[in-house]
Symmetry: C2
Subunit: 443 residues, 2 copies
């Protein structure tokens, strides 16, 4: 890229990883370069791009001598101010970020997996070296969740956060709900359209969602980033039958990341959840992401946008680059303390054990159609302190199993687990009971 | 307040205006003081509060010697770093802010009326004196609209913004829609509940909405804050009959602030608008506010929250105080350039004249029930290049007037105005035609 600068000031960037998002970043720097320079107060000059494959055509013009296959050329270049890491995965991304910080370079990354697993180590190195790290693109794509939690709600206490943060899982559940199709069918379609990976477990089993919840928890509660202990259940067990019963009960099923402040502890869990049709999150469809944050002072704050994709994610990356560029311009020598330093403590998040969680439940029992079954099931529920809110039992079949659906008032997860083991051992119960949690303030 | 500080660093605050929001700010500083100190890296010490009435009980503890009736005591206090202006209105707020900047004090304000009318002058003084101004609370309350436009979308071009930014107007329209009641009845109820002012024109005639749109436009398009030329139409003419027809057509009526980039110009207007029921904004009810921003790279970004109220607004005020406190801590001597300096130019926003706007329309004609009326009306529309998308004409009455409802494809405001003058002059048309604009991507 050319070096012409209207402001006379230049911030040099090095990009590691020239894939989809990296290409989006290069496009935005090129197409909106003047606009960004005016807003940032300096020209953002992309000095070097490192990628293993520098021959591939990427539909954006880059000067040949800007490309390298050696990330070291960026990490060791004394003129580069900010390193943008967009290769994803744990290694060598982790090594590159640590080396960048040691070389006193600021960092921008979209790597949620790395931050969720090694965020603590990275934030400590960053703070020690006195450089900044931007990671707005790592959670929620264009949704300004990092800014909202760290800045906009800085004076508030976060009561709870409910997030839809995986576009693939949300796309599949939306299609199942709106088109009455099975999980397997929709997944296959999503794979053939390129919306889901060949190995989709990362998205559909809640792994990606747990990474994003780990980062969100650290931001909201000022604790160490930790994945351990986050109860994680994916959507592969959600059946069309449950989608239909959910609708009959006035709910939609969404894969939610949930964080709720419980006194000195935090309740954190990821699972398919029934939410009322008029809930804001129930209307987040397709591959969109959203967060519903409830603050003690602020009340409800709801944020919605593209959680992934080339240009949306690239826009979030640029926002972090500009923030850091402005810091460098203000104070080029004495670099500020780490991005996280004043906010996060190296203390473990005191997680409420999942067995102690109270919530509402949907059960679908598969029972023989015989008198007394309902009384046996409800008897066991009562013995385990579980109060029934509603029952749906559809007309009897000539033979075989019938579904019996129940919703409950707030009940303890431990009690529910115990009750379900006993119920599933009844000889009148023919299949494993389906349990989906409900978030419904009216229950 | 006591001066005990864990961080050993103190930022001194002076509050001018101890009304509802001011009391909320004092409460938050008191109740969340430790949390805020940990996050800000310094204690925020409220050194002085100025208000004309310092005797009134406010349900929050404040030391007597902290209170004064003279704002000058804050403005001239060399130890005060940040002045928080929460008196509202034009004067003396304007004089106080200008004096604060001249005394090299940073400023936080929630005063949208002042910024909309005199923002340009204030931002220039602030830039000249090298102090910062925070005004997140002036638009959208807890919604981080300033941060989103200035920071999160800094690398993107804003295609359009649709906002519901006045809680009172939205409360009235929501009640009219959900409860089938008249404008006058709901307004009266809102007044008796304290949700609407005795003189409600500021809220219901779109004045407050125009202030917030003026500030939003400056943020999105980097231009001078200007109120002049913003087409503004309130909700006082919205009738229950139109609410019902809207529903029949699949719409809800909302008071929208609209900004759309049109090449070198910007289209900006405020008026009651029919929007599809499945639009995110159609589900923003009661006194909530929301923005739907569409960026070229980011796509749809939707933000929702409490636009007013004591604690939500106070939380937004604190967010600005902490941002500025962090800046002061980094660089206490050389203060940074004005908050807006790199973003806003003293250039007028090139507004597209309202007559040149193309949009969709809903018309309700009040016509005599006689053959040939429909052909006369549709003839005039056709002569003015207005294409009809749908017609609703309900069963004939024995005598008198019948409503004829039409929606149109994209038409030019100038053509519509001309056509309506001609139609309203027809002797078969008995009353002034009702015109409500529609925002519907499917039309």
């Amino acid at each position: 890229m050319t070096m012409a600068s209207k402001t006379g000031k230049v911030i040099n960037l090095g990009l590691i990883g020239f894939g989809t998002i990296g290409t989006g970043v290069v496009k935005l720097l090129r197409e909106n370069g003047e606009l960004i320079e005016r807003r940032a107060g300096a020209k953002l000059h992309l000095r070097k791009i490192a990628d293993l494959d520098i021959e591939k055509s990427r539909n954006v013009f880059v000067e040949k001598d800007c490309l390298t296959t050696h990330a070291e050329e960026i990490l060791q270049d004394p003129d580069i101010d900010i390193v943008i890491e967009l290769i994803g995965g744990y290694e060598p991304a982790r090594a590159f970020l640590n080396e960048a910080a040691r070389q006193k370079k600021h960092i921008v990354t979209a790597n949620k997996a790395l931050l969720a697993a090694h965020g603590d180590e990275i934030f400590q190195i960053v703070a020690k070296e006195g450089v900044q790290i931007g990671f707005e693109a790592s959670v929620g794509g264009t949704i300004p969740i990092v800014r909202t939690l760290r800045e906009a709600m800085v004076g508030d206490r976060i009561k709870s956060i409910y997030g839809i943060v995986n576009g693939t899982a949300n796309y599949i559940l939306s299609k199942m709900t709106d088109e009455g199709r099975s999980f397997a069918e929709v997944l296959q379609e999503a794979q053939s359209l390129g919306f889901a990976e060949a190995d989709p477990s990362f998205d559909i089993e809640g792994v990606d969602t747990s990474h994003k919840l780990a980062i969100t928890l650290a931001l909201a509660y000022g604790q160490r980033v930790q994945l351990k202990g986050l109860y994680t259940e994916g959507i592969s067990q959600v059946s069309q039958q449950d989608v239909v019963f959910a609708r009959e009960l006035g709910y939609r099923i969404k894969l939610l990341a949930i964080a709720i402040s419980r006194g000195e502890q935090v309740e954190a869990r990821i699972h398919p959840t029934m939410i009322p049709l008029d809930d804001l999150l129930a209307n987040v469809n397709g591959n969109f992401n959203a967060f519903h944050i409830i603050g003690e002072a602020s009340g409800s704050v709801f944020l919605y946008g593209q959680g992934a994709g080339m240009m949306p994610t690239a826009s979030a990356v640029i926002s972090d680059i500009v923030d850091i560029a402005k810091e460098i311009l203000k104070d080029p020598l004495k670099r500020s303390s780490g991005y996280f330093a004043s906010n996060v403590h190296s203390r473990d998040l005191p997680l409420l054990p999942m067995a102690d969680v109270f919530t509402n439940y949907y059960f679908r029992f598969t029972a023989v159609d015989r008198p007394g079954v309902l009384s046996k099931i409800s008897g066991i529920l009562a013995e385990n302190n579980i109060s029934i809110a509603s029952v749906i039992q559809k007309g009897r079949k000539e033979s075989g199993a019938v579904p019996v659906v129940m919703t409950t008032y707030k009940s303890c997860e431990r009690d529910v687990q115990e009750a379900l083991v006993r119920i599933d051992n009844l000889d009148v119960v023919l299949d494993r009971t389906i349990r989906i949690r409900i978030e419904d303030k009216k229950l």
